[in-house]
Amino acid sequence: MSDQPSSSARSADRAGLFIALGLAVLALVVGWDAWRLASVNAHSAVGPAAFPTIIAAGLAILAVATAVEAIREGAIARPRDEAGPMVWVLAGLVGQIVLLPFLGFSIATGWLFAATARGFGRGPVWAHFLAGTVMCFIIYLIFAKGLQLSLPAGPLERLI
């Protein structure tokens, strides 16, 4: 996301360094949890901490290996990714989570459909929102009534 193709081939791959950092943090979290569990008295020969310890060690080694690779191989030119469309899709997903408890499955998921379509360059949002809501209402009828799946209901779903 935040990588500019560098002009000098010898500078390290920044994305690779970030991933190495992420792996190191994950190794610390898993290792810390294993350390916490190791103090718990285990009844068997191998307690709940053994396997996490192995994984934490593996993650730490991979963090180092990723950092070494990033420095040795240098910056990699990647095609630029556009942020705008991604923001629309993410707004769709976050919006669905926010709307779901109040407005129910059909409206929340209709918004998701509209925002995704907009992210792929197809508008207008309101028309897709209406069409998406109708589509999701039909899906709700099929899955909640026909297959007895429990989907969150809102004002629209309570009409039936």
Partner: protein, 503 residues
């Protein structure tokens, strides 16, 4: 022979009208999603898992197998007509197949892919039926330390086979293993990595992770690519039938592809990609019309497509006999078995013979259905390719969240879907393979269970892990899988050919 009696019994199960219907729904769905760019068989099975929870196990597993085989067929259609492989095991098909379609020979390309897939799928399914009982007999004598070694082998081969480098493959695997730790440890009752969030105590659902990585991650990376990924659909011109010369040039590559695909798929190394690459290289070397290769040689479609389907059947050998998934789709099928309280492995063949043999028999039926349905319906599949992408991906996200909500109607679950979706995007963006994450999540807890069982028997002495000859052999193979590419590089000065990511 017992095998044939068992298979006959299985055929009886598979031929029941309701199971035929499940197989039909499975192959239709599988082909449709295989054709659509962005959704592969792994995602489809993951989405259907929560919906099929209340159905009969045999029926839904037959449907999943139909999706699996159908996805392979559909993938070839997308590769040939669109030059965007629906899943990675069809990448090689796109090389020659799309050139043939551009030259107005799309029909014969689709036909050789379909018939080759049928031939290879049928031979490989016979292979599966013949080999499975033998593997079961061997596997019955495995101790927990052998199972642990087997899983280590699966881990290393899955990481080394997928993706652009071993470091990247292992990184994906360890992310999956870390996610597998989340939740209550069943032996000690301790909560691990759940940070006090009650929803995390049950662990991460395989379906949530798979749907997020495949559906959300893929959608994000496609929309971020923007106009970079424009596609042209090649219309199918002329006859879809192959002429005499096409047949003559196709049948040997079909058989060679089968011979390459089935054993590689059946090894705990798995994956359908490597045999397709090998088959392409082999056909290129053997082809008499060298100048046609790269410009639409039918051998370059026939061989890899056969290899692809033979490997798909091969992957079911370790899945059914050892409970060892070696591809993302197989990992999710394993989750499908677990949803019904069934554990694939040697015992399943004695406890649920009807189900296992019914499943194997239904593979023959699915294959036949695909051959009959595919060519006449090619017009329908082409129309699927023409769905505008904003609606296609909007629909994919609607069904992705529907499947997740259906499995567990909680906002935390949707939040995890979002977080793992972003993880999927980052993995794709920086060339990390997806399949090892899913395999790590599902196999990690099983590997830990076997490790602790082995160490409990030896009262904590780790020497027990390295005493059995079976385990030692498996460790040697793991080391070879990990360091093989490096040795290959040192010996020849060329980078070893590695497979692409599976979808």
């Amino acid at each position: 022979m017992d095998t044939f009696a068992a298979l006959g019994q299985g055929l009886f199960v598979a031929l029941q009208p309701i199971n035929l219907l499940f197989a039909f729904v499975g192959v239709m769905l599988g082909t449709a999603v295989g054709v659509l760019p962005g959704i592969g068989p792994a995602l489809t099975v993951a989405l259907l898992l929560p919906i099929t929870f209340k159905l009969d196990p045999a029926g839904s597993l037959i449907m999943f197998a139909g999706i699996y085989y159908g996805g392979m067929y559909g993938g070839s259609t997308a590769s040939i007509l669109l030059n965007t492989p629906g899943e990675s095991s069809s990448i090689v098909t796109a090389l020659e197949g799309n050139k043939m379609a551009r030259a107005g020979r799309g029909g014969p390309a689709l036909a050789t892919a379909a018939i080759g897939s049928f031939v290879a799928g049928t031979i490989a399914t016979i292979g599966l039926a013949l080999i499975a009982p033998t593997v079961v007999d061997i596997a019955i004598s495995f101790g927990p330390e052998d199972y642990f070694a087997l899983m280590v082998l699966a881990f290393t081969t899955v990481s080394a086979a997928f993706g652009s480098s071993v470091t990247r493959g292992l990184t994906s695997l360890f992310i999956g293993l870390s996610l597998g730790l989340i939740g209550i440890d069943l032996q000690s009752g301790q909560a691990r990595l759940s940070f006090g969030v009650p929803d995390l105590l049950d662990g991460v659902e395989v379906t949530t992770l798979a749907v997020a990585l495949f559906a959300i991650g893929e959608t994000l990376s496609v929309c971020a690519a923007g106009s970079r990924a424009e596609e042209v659909i090649e219309p199918v011109k002329g006859s879809v039938f192959m002429n005499k010369e096409d047949w003559k040039r196709s049948w040997r590559p079909w058989l060679r592809g089968t011979v390459l695909g089935f054993p590689i798929g059946a090894m705990p190394a798995g994956g359908a990609e490597i045999p397709t690459f090998l088959s392409y290289a082999l056909e290129k070397r053997l082809c008499k019309k060298q100048d046609e290769f790269g410009n639409g040689a039918i051998e370059g479609v026939a061989g890899p497509e056969a290899a692809n389907n033979a490997a798909a059947a091969g992957v079911l050998v370790p899945l059914l006999t050892l409970g060892l998934p070696t591809s993302a789709t197989a990992a999710i099928m394993l989750a499908g078995f677990q949803q019904y309280g069934l554990n694939p492995g040697p015992l399943l063949f004695t406890t649920n013979p009807d189900l296992v043999w019914g499943l194997i028999a239904s593979l023959f039926i699915a294959n036949g259905m695909l051959l009959i349905l595919n060519l006449p319906l090619v017009g329908l599949w082409v129309r699927l390719l023409a769905i505008p992408r904003p609606w296609l991906y909007g629909g994919i996200l609607v069904f992705a969240t529907l499947g997740t909500l259906g499995a567990n109607p909680s906002l935390v679950e949707l939040g995890m879907l979002l977080v793992f979706g972003l993880l999927g995007y980052v993995l794709r963006r920086y060339d990390y393979p997806i399949a090892p994450v899913v395999v790590g999540l599902i196999l990690g807890p099983l590997a830990e269970q076997q490790l602790r069982r082995a160490l409990a028997i030896s009262v904590g002495d780790p020497i027990v892990l390295f005493q059995s000859p079976i385990a030692l052999t498996l460790y040697a193979l793991s080391a070879l899988a990990l360091f093989g590419p490096l040795l290959f590089y040192l010996a020849t000065g060329h980078r070893a050919p590695v497979g692409a990511d599976e979808d």
